[in-house]
């Protein structure tokens, strides 16, 4: 057998061995929660989305550790487990949590798998595309933490508030939402932001785009000429409007507004409705714009 064949056979053997090892990888096992009383539950939150929903459920005091991305007021008196995408597993273990609340929206599958493999009870909330998803996650969270009734009551109140927002008939205002400036990131029709705008009586200028978040061109924004712009995100560049978009209607008429990062990025059923109310107010001309002194 010549050396080429030997080498080829060796490589094929190694690949088969590797595949076998991966296939034999056992699934993770979720241990039952030891502490079933709501009062004593020790919770580790793996991101602001989980944290805000836990606080809405009234379980903020049960959070023993969270990430550096959480609001400073939430972090006060609590331990830090690291970042959203690379949490410190040792730190999480040392907190002896009864449950870890994560989100498939921001946390890596690898860290969730690792926690499950180590026998830590983990709840990963689903990704968000709509208000229904936000509500479903909230109920799941409540059920997992023996607070389902509280969760349902909060949902009923939120939906009642939402039903009271009734945009008038007639032409809808064109709304442009900015998540980031460099590059210019906006939302398509696969996020709850698009639904927020629609419920508030507006129409997302990129509602014809079947994406969640994507980078758009300034040219396209000018072409679609939004009536209102609202923005959020870590890097705000309010000079951008005067420099790059001076000719569009929203900038000419000073209809550019800033929204809260956490409210937009880490929605709860209550803050979703808050946002719809705010956008409804902006569209009807009652909000504060960035050009006001």
């Amino acid at each position: 057998m010549n050396s080429n064949k030997k080498l080829a056979i060796s490589i094929i053997f190694l690949l088969i061995m590797g595949m076998t090892v991966l296939i034999l990888n056992k699934g993770s096992h979720q241990p039952p929660m030891e502490n079933s009383s709501v009062k004593g539950i020790r919770i580790v939150s793996m991101g602001p989305y989980a944290t805000e929903n836990l606080f809405l459920l009234g379980l903020g005091d049960n959070i023993t550790a969270l990430t550096i991305h959480d609001l400073p007021v939430r972090r006060a008196g609590k331990e830090i487990i690291g970042t959203l995408i690379d949490p410190n597993i040792e730190k999480i273990l040392s907190m002896k949590p009864d449950i870890v609340i994560a989100s498939k929206e921001g946390n890596m599958e690898g860290s969730l798998n690792k926690l499950s493999q180590l026998g830590i009870r983990t709840l990963a909330l689903d990704q968000l595309h709509s208000f229904d998803d936000i509500c479903r996650n909230f109920i799941t969270l409540g059920r997992e933490l023996n607070s389902e009734e509280t969760a349902e009551n909060i949902l009923i109140q939120s939906k009642q508030r939402l039903d009271r927002i009734k945009p008038g008939p007639g032409k809808k205002s064109k709304v442009f939402f900015i998540l980031g400036f460099k590059p210019l990131i906006t939302t398509g029709n696969m996020t709850y932001i698009d639904e927020m705008i629609s419920l508030a009586g507006g129409i997302n200028i990129f509602s014809d785009t079947d994406k969640k978040w994507f980078a758009c061109s300034v040219e396209e924004v000018v072409r679609r000429n939004p009536d209102i712009i609202f923005f959020t995100g870590m890097e705000k560049d309010t000079e951008f409007f005067g420099k790059r978009l001076p000719e569009i209607k929203a900038v000419r008429e000073s209809m550019v507004f800033e929204m809260d990062d956490t409210v937009i990025g880490s929605p709860t059923p209550a803050t979703f409705v808050d946002s719809v109310e705010t956008i409804y107010g902006l569209i009807s001309g009652k909000g504060k714009n960035v050009f006001e002194k």
Partner: protein, 320 residues
């Protein structure tokens, strides 16, 4: 310093790196503490820290041995595992794995990507019998090609998968599937041992193709075997830790500086030094601003950059 003392120093560094990797972290363990471990401490040590130290060691060792061999056969001090397009292929494999949405297949796809890139190089070079310089340029070109494909995929991929890709591409030893650790340790160790025993071949190849042919070496066959063996090592390394740069570049130089150019001596030294270096780098990455963890690729990149500047300054002095 005698050779015996140098090996002694290397062994000392090895022991310090392993001990620091195991003892330091979110919670520091003293040696007496090992005799009174709580349940959580045992979980941290045996399920997280020790596997991580083992993974860090074998990745550093493997990348260093592969880098050493490639520098010898390509006769280029800047050659390393990723110069020949292997990192580009591995990155593309990682992206494909992330696209499929299953964490478990990412290491396998990273491995396949590494192998695919080297097979492309071997297939192209078998037609043309490229020189060493052309091989390196071909590798750089492949890196650019694969990297642009990676950027294209990241531009159009769903944003929730973007972050998973990022950690793999900058190197991290936190999230390898536990089941691939033992096979990786065995395979990388066996291939490294085989390469070390074949050290004389690389001594001859490093003198140039003409010299090697005159001494009866089939240079094409030996280089091809070496490429494939290095690629298998790098494939396993990438599947454990993603892309970690500079280890395979710096460590061969350091081991040649201390242990000489004879590969039977400097390859085992590269193995131990590379493993120890990456364990120390990972320990620093874990503890510098704990509990926030810095990706280990940031630490190796930082020290790699400093090393290169020092190397350039040293060579500049020689030119004068």
């Amino acid at each position: 310093m005698s050779l015996k003392n140098k090996y002694g120093l290397l062994l000392f560094i090895f022991i310090i790196s392993i001990l620091s990797g195991i003892c330091l972290g979110t919670k520091n363990f003293g040696i007496p503490g090992f005799f009174s471990l709580s349940g959580i401490d045992r979980l941290i040590l045996f399920e997280i820290r020790i596997p991580r130290v083992l993974a860090g060691f074998i990745v550093g060792a493997g990348l260093s041995v592969a880098g050493s061999v490639l520098q010898a056969i390509l006769r280029n001090p800047l050659a390393e595992s990723y110069t020949l397009g292997i990192s580009g292929g591995a990155s593309l494999g990682i992206c494909m794995g992330v696209l499929l949405g299953k964490f478990e297949v990412i290491p396998y796809f990273a491995f396949m990507g590494s192998i695919a890139s080297i097979l492309v190089i071997l297939a192209v070079s078998s037609k043309k019998r490229f020189s060493n310089t052309t091989l390196i340029l071909l590798g750089v070109a492949l890196n650019f090609l694969f990297s642009s494909l990676v950027l294209f995929i990241m531009a159009v991929v769903k944003n929730d998968k973007f972050q998973s890709t990022l950690l793999w591409l900058i190197g991290d030893i936190s999230y390898f599937p536990a089941k691939i650790l033992m096979p990786s340790i065995i395979i990388i160790s066996l291939i490294s041992a085989y390469i070390s025993f074949s050290g004389r071949i690389y001594d001859i190849l490093s003198m140039g193709d003409e010299k090697a042919v005159s001494m009866g070496i089939d240079t094409y066959r030996e280089k091809r075997s070496a490429f494939l063996l290095c690629c298998i090592i790098v494939g396993f390394c990438v599947s454990l830790s993603g892309i970690i740069g500079f280890v395979g570049l710096i460590i061969p130089h350091v081991s040649r500086f201390f242990f000489g150019s004879t590969h039977r001596k400097n390859l085992p030294a590269s193995f131990i030094a590379g493993g120890s270096f990456l364990v120390l780098a990972d320990t620093l990455a874990r503890t510098l601003i704990k509990p926030v963890e810095i990706p280990v690729g940031v630490i190796t990149g930082f020290f790699g950059g400093l090393f290169f500047i020092a190397m350039l300054l040293r060579s500049k002095q020689r030119e004068i």
